[in-house]
Every structure is written in C-alpha cells, then in structure tokens.
C-alpha cells in the first residue's frame, strides 16, 4: 500500500473558456462515487512513475495498468 499512491479518478477537464459556470463547478467538486470499474491515476514511488490503473472500486481488483496515452501500445 505504501509503495503506490492514489491520484484520483482519470477525468477530462472541460474547456474553462467555453464551459458554463455550472459545468466547471461540477468538474471541480462532483465525483462519480458509485462502485464499478474506474480509470485512476496511480503513482509508483520508487520509480517516480505516474500511470493509469483500471480498478474495480468494489472488489479492489486491478484489471489493466498502462502509462497515460500509451493504452494501445500495451
């Protein structure tokens, strides 16, 4: 547990220049808290690597890991 650090769910940021205040507030505050398979940011301390893990938040099973943007290369 201490070797890896959780970085929160992978989320797309709306364009702050074009989105409404409500959309921006939702991006800042609201989260999808329901259980299920999620794409998440994780950090591996010893190697200093941020990566994406696909993890089921109900069972804590990780199904895939990859570096962000290199999903297809895996």
């Amino acid at each position: 547990m201490s070797e890896f650090t959780y970085g929160g769910e992978y989320r797309d940021m709306p364009d702050p220049d074009t989105c409404t205040d409500k959309e921006w507030a939702a991006y800042v505050h609201y989260r999808n808290g329901a259980p299920g398979l999620k794409k998440e940011w994780w950090y591996h301390g010893p190697s200093g690597t941020w990566f994406i893990a696909e993890r089921d938040t109900m069972t804590d099973k990780i199904s895939r890991t990859y570096i962000a943007g290199q999903e297809e290369a895996k």
């Binding site: 547990m1 201490s2 650090t5 959780y6 769910e9 205040d21 409500k22 507030a25 939702a26 800042v28 505050h29 609201y30 989260r31 999808n32 808290g33 329901a34 259980p35 999620k38 998440e40 938040t57 109900m58 069972t59 804590d60």
Partner: protein, 413 residues
C-alpha cells in the same frame, strides 16, 4: 432490583423484551420512507413521529439495525469544530445527547470524559488556538492547554511521545464524550416503533420511482411502496442511492478502520486525539481501548481490514503509551465513509422533489445523530430546511460556498 424481574424467577418462561416489532410485510403506501436503519435514519423517523405527528413511516434497512457506520464508529461526541456553522450544529447535537438516555428511556452509557486534541507542532498549535477562539465565541467550552495540564489529566501519557513528536499543547474540550453507539440506534428504533413507525430489516431498496421530477415510490426487495417523501440516510451507500435518482454529488467512499484492545482496568479517563500521529483513543465502559486512525488512502466500497492499519496505528499508540507494548488488539473492523471535499455533511432538499439527503457524514456522523435526525425530520415535514443545516445544502458546491471543516477532523485524513 425492579420488582418486575421477580416474576421471572418463578416462571419457566423468560421472554426477552423486544425493542421493536419484527415487521416483514410493508404496506402499500407510507407518508414517508426512510432508507437506512442506522442512527440517523431512525432518529429522523423518531422526530418525524414525535415533533410532527407523522407516524405512517417505514424505515428500510438492507442489513440489520445499527449494523453500518452507527455500530462501526469510535463513539466520540464533541463540538469543537472550526467554522461557527459547524460548531453551532454539533453543539446542538451534544446538548441533545446529554438528555438522550432519559428521552429514549435507555441507558446509552453517555459518559463525558473531556477531549484533548494534542498538538505536536507550531502549526497544529495555531489551528488549536483558532478552534478554541471560534468555540468560545459561539459559547462552547474549549481552550488551549499546555503539557502540564495534559499530564495532570492523563499521567500515563508520554508527553515526549517516545521522543518522536513532543507534545506542545492541546485543544481541551470539556464536553467531549463517548456513548454506547449501537444503543443509540436501538433507543431511537424502540421509541419510533412505539409511536407507530415500521422498521423493516433485510429490506433493500433497488430503485426510486421518480415521475416529472417528483418521488412517487420506491422499489424494494419486498415489493413496490408508494410514497412521495424519501430520505436517504445510508452513509457509505449514498452514491448508489443518488445514482437511482440521477443526482450528482461530490461524495466518494473510502474505508475507515478501527480496532479495540483487550479489556483493562479503567485507567484512561479522557479522550485523546493526535492529528500528527493519526490516532484517536478512549477507553470503553468495558475496559477496551477503542482506537481509530486516518482513512484508507484510496476509494473503495468495502469493509475489509488491513494489517497495515493495525501496525501503523499501534506503533503510534506505543509512542504515546510505551507501557501498552504487550497489550493485544482483539478486534478490528472497517466502515465505508462517505466523504465530502469540505469535511462537512450534505443535508436537506435535492433537485428531485420529495427526495431528501442526509449524507456526506464521512468520519463525523455519530456525534451528529440526534440533531441530524431532528433537522431532517423538520426538512421532510415542512419541505424547508431549517437555518441550522442551510450551510450544509447540496447546492453549496455549485455556489462555491463550502463549509471548510477539514481542520477540525480529528486526525489529518
């Protein structure tokens, strides 16, 4: 000894008195349905009946009464918060707790111990002073004390914390108390039942029926129930319920773990909390040390326990109390904490008419049980949230009007 007990000495029958009826078949419709038979849901049912005469109420509990976070917390009741809104709200709860055993006619073992939040750093001392001043301003008994006064109240505590993190002072909060947590749920269940509320255990809500933006009923594992008022008081299950009515919230679920030691003779009078060491500890009425720590570091819908937690927590407990090094941990468990970004709850009305939310109780829900029940009952009965919970409304996030209570969380979560 009550004379009523004598008759059992002469009888072969020894019927255990039941606190509430064993309801199995829900009626076709209710004036209000409460999802979640924990302290909060049952308290809301009780105050709906008592304060507003609304007794045609069903409480639906997926598991058993008080089996969720009501029975999993570390039972601490206090009001030494950081914002005036928070202090007022939790102070109202502490005052209700003080008379609650009388009101519910059940001994809740409510025990006022005094509560020390230890500060090991300059910045922690600054936060303690801030909280003390806000508390005093609102009329709550809190003050900053030095190491001598802490030693006097708890001579067993190693003020240097084994040289690791010397204690500089503390926020002392005289009304800080502990209570028998599951008895709070039983007491509210008993009295709500007596006034006509029906409590259904092993009854899961599978859907909420919304027509033109209004609640019209709920689907349950025991069939469909018509109602136009639904309260969700389900703590760690909140995102699953809000998903049913398509409401967005900031709530995410992290497990929060706790454990107890083997029972000892009473020696720890006070409640001790250390933010820097991530520890809170008190001694229960049966002698166990009840110990808790920070949240698990990542989102998960589970009540699994981990060795990491016990190792981390007990190493800090031994820093504080070196003589406990041979004492055993006998039980550990976890609850699912529904966290908000500002460490304040989410209470009141929602965009769906007739759907009320009592959620976002994270790590701070037990202490608020009476006042949340009372204010949510009022919200449901009048369809207007009372001023006391206005700072906790769901729309505060869209308005960027957060109620920042993170500095008053017992440990740096």
């Amino acid at each position: 000894m009550p004379l009523g007990l004598l008759k059992y000495a002469l009888s072969k029958e020894h019927p255990a008195p039941r606190f509430f009826r064993d309801c199995t078949e829900p009626k076709k419709s209710y004036d209000a349905v409460i999802i979640g038979g924990g302290g909060h849901g049952l308290a809301a049912a009780y105050y709906l009946a008592k304060d507003f005469g609304i007794t045609n109420v069903a409480v639906l509990e997926k598991g058993y009464i008080g089996g969720g976070n009501t029975g999993r917390n570390t039972t601490i009741v206090r009001s030494n918060y950081l914002t005036p809104e928070g202090v007022n709200f939790y102070d109202a709860s502490v005052k209700m707790y003080e008379d609650l055993s009388q009101e519910l006619d059940l001994n809740l073992f409510y025990s006022t111990r005094g509560h020390f939040t230890l500060a090991h750093t300059d910045s922690a001392m600054r936060t303690m002073r801030w909280r003390a001043e806000v508390n005093k301003h609102v009329g709550v008994e809190s003050r900053v004390v030095g190491p001598d006064e802490i030693s006097q109240a708890c001579p067993q505590l190693d003020i240097s914390c084994s040289g690791q993190a010397p204690i500089q002072g503390a926020l002392y909060h005289a009304p800080g108390s502990v209570a028998r947590h599951d008895a709070v749920a039983w007491g509210y269940a008993k009295e709500a039942d007596r006034m006509g509320v029906e409590i259904f255990q092993s009854t899961e809500v599978t859907g909420i029926d919304v027509k033109s933006g209004k609640v019209v009923g709920v689907n349950t594992s025991k069939g469909y129930i018509e109602t136009n008022r639904v309260l969700s008081a389900v703590a760690g299950f909140t995102p699953r319920i809000t998903e049913m009515v398509d409401i967005e919230t900031p709530i995410v679920i992290h497990p929060l773990q706790a454990c107890v030691s083997e029972p000892m003779k009473p020696w720890l009078d006070t409640i001790l909390v250390s933010g820097s060491l991530h520890v809170y500890v008190s001694q229960s009425s049966r002698g166990e040390l009840v110990m808790g720590s920070s949240l698990d570091p990542y989102e998960m819908h589970s009540t699994r326990s981990s060795l990491d937690f016990v190792e981390g927590l007990t190493s800090h407990i031994v820093d504080m109390f070196p003589f406990l090094s041979n004492v055993k941990v006998v039980r550990q468990w976890a609850g699912m904490a529904d966290l908000t970004p500002d460490f304040a709850p989410i209470m009141g009305k929602t965009p769906v008419e007739g759907f009320y939310l009592d959620a976002g109780w994270g790590t701070w829900g037990f202490k608020a049980t009476p006042i949340s029940g009372k204010t949510m009952a009022e919200t449901m009965a009048r369809d207007i949230a009372p001023d006391l919970i206005e700072p906790f409304r769901l729309t505060r996030f869209e308005d960027y009007e957060l109620t920042g209570e993170k500095g008053a969380a017992s440990v740096g979560h």
